[in-house]
């Protein structure tokens, strides 16, 4: 198989919601905490903390904390693009860019996630392509569930480990 096929993956999920609501769910701290993170802290380029409800902007930096893990397990990165409407991009695993785009397809809102520039050595392919795509599949499903008024599917019990929901 061509190694380039392991350097990126794209996932799409249809959600019964509007673009503005979905954009706030991916581009504000409180939105991200509703379906993705236990705690999301953002600072602007001058180092000032951002309000949980304020829209994020390019060059903001983040600290992300996960359900099921202590605060010492923290992912740090940068917002690469936030157009205030339908595109939100940030650095993620191994500093690879993740771009989320919102658009309509056959009259339905599509949330499309692209993670690219993944290294294609054997270990990274096994760990990051598989691990990241599997992680995003769950979290995008949870975004759909939360935005459509359903359950938050995340495991929030730190004593329970080895589950796909955290």
């Amino acid at each position: 198989m061509d190694k380039n096929q392991w350097s990126a993956f794209k996932l799409r999920v249809n959600i019964n919601s509007d673009i503005q609501t979905a954009y706030r769910a991916i581009a504000t701290a409180e939105g991200l905490e509703s379906w993705f993170l236990r705690k999301a802290l953002f600072k602007d380029p001058k180092g000032k903390s951002k309000e949980p409800s304020s829209l994020l902007a390019a060059r903001d930096t983040y600290e992300w904390y996960w359900h099921g893990y202590p605060d010492s397990v923290v992912e740090k990165g940068t917002i690469l693009k936030a157009n205030g409407q339908d595109v939100f991009a940030f650095t993620f695993s191994l500093k690879c860019p993740v771009t989320i785009t919102l658009y309509k397809d056959v009259g339905t809102l599509i949330v499309e996630l692209l993670e690219n520039d993944l290294p294609t050595d054997e270990t990274s392919m096994m760990n990051h392509f598989v691990g990241d795509s599997r992680g995003w599949i769950f979290y995008l499903t949870n975004l759909k569930s939360v935005l459509e008024g359903g359950l938050d599917l995340r495991n929030k019990d730190p004593k329970l480990t080895n589950v796909i929901t955290a």
Binding site: W66, G68, Y69, P70, S72, V73, V74, E75, F92, S93, L94, T123, N127, H128, V130, G131, D132, R134, G135, F138, Y139, T161, N162, V163, I164, T165, A166
Partner: protein
Amino acid sequence: MKVLPLSELTRNRKKIPVYTDHVLATLSTSGPFHCETHYTGLGIISLLNGKGHFNINDHQIALNTSSFLIVNRGSKLSFKLSPNSRLVILGFNPKLSDLVSQTMFSQNKKRLPDKINIHDYALLEHIHIMNSTLKNHLEILIALSSSCASFHALKTDMVVRSILDQLIHENYDAISYSSNLSVVKKNTQIHLYKKLSVTKRWMEHNYGEPISIDHLADIAMLNNYHFLRLFKQAFGITPHQFLIKTRLKNAELLLKNSTLSISDICHRVGFESVSSFSTLFKRRFSKSPTEYRRFTEN
């Protein structure tokens, strides 16, 4: 991170191993276990169960669940484990550790003496007191190594990086403090620094107990005068001043995070008299313990 069998990690009898990624090996013993002498990469050795005797560069070290060992790149290691032990070895990717330490050392403004090898961890190669954060991190790594958790590789990287950052910070401090010791021979400097560092860590874990200079010098295996002089030289502070600082720092945490009375906090952190505790606390934080608690509550 790669998960390897222990035999893979300890097979290097003739040359220093170069890991292409972080590596994790675990071993549970049912009977006695002996591992022959081999070369190590930079890493952490810990026991989650049982006990073991380690021989590192001809120094004998007894390890149990309340301690861990840092091993330097290129050290010679052999060990024996007792039955029902659970060994964890975490080896760091040398490229990443070199890159991170290079960045950290170049960003720091304090000038270190020339000819210092910032990738040498000999100063940290000794027994360390286990802390709950590291124990927790090792347990998370073991769990993630066979987990279906979302983003397991990313989370593994975050945990390893957190441990590595801490290690590099400690090495920076060790290089920085040890360079204050006015000794000519490098081996003497390493030897003395390790003794002082172990004693300093011991104080950080036992500050609540009555501690005498005799006892500290005994732990450092130095005579009182020599210990006092070298400790001040390395850390720029006397052992007594360090102890007071440690007690006050922990008192501050208890005032912030507990409902214990001032008197209980005073005795818990090792002060005998509430009035001397209050005086020292006010001198350091510009507020009495009561005022400080009220201030943090508001």
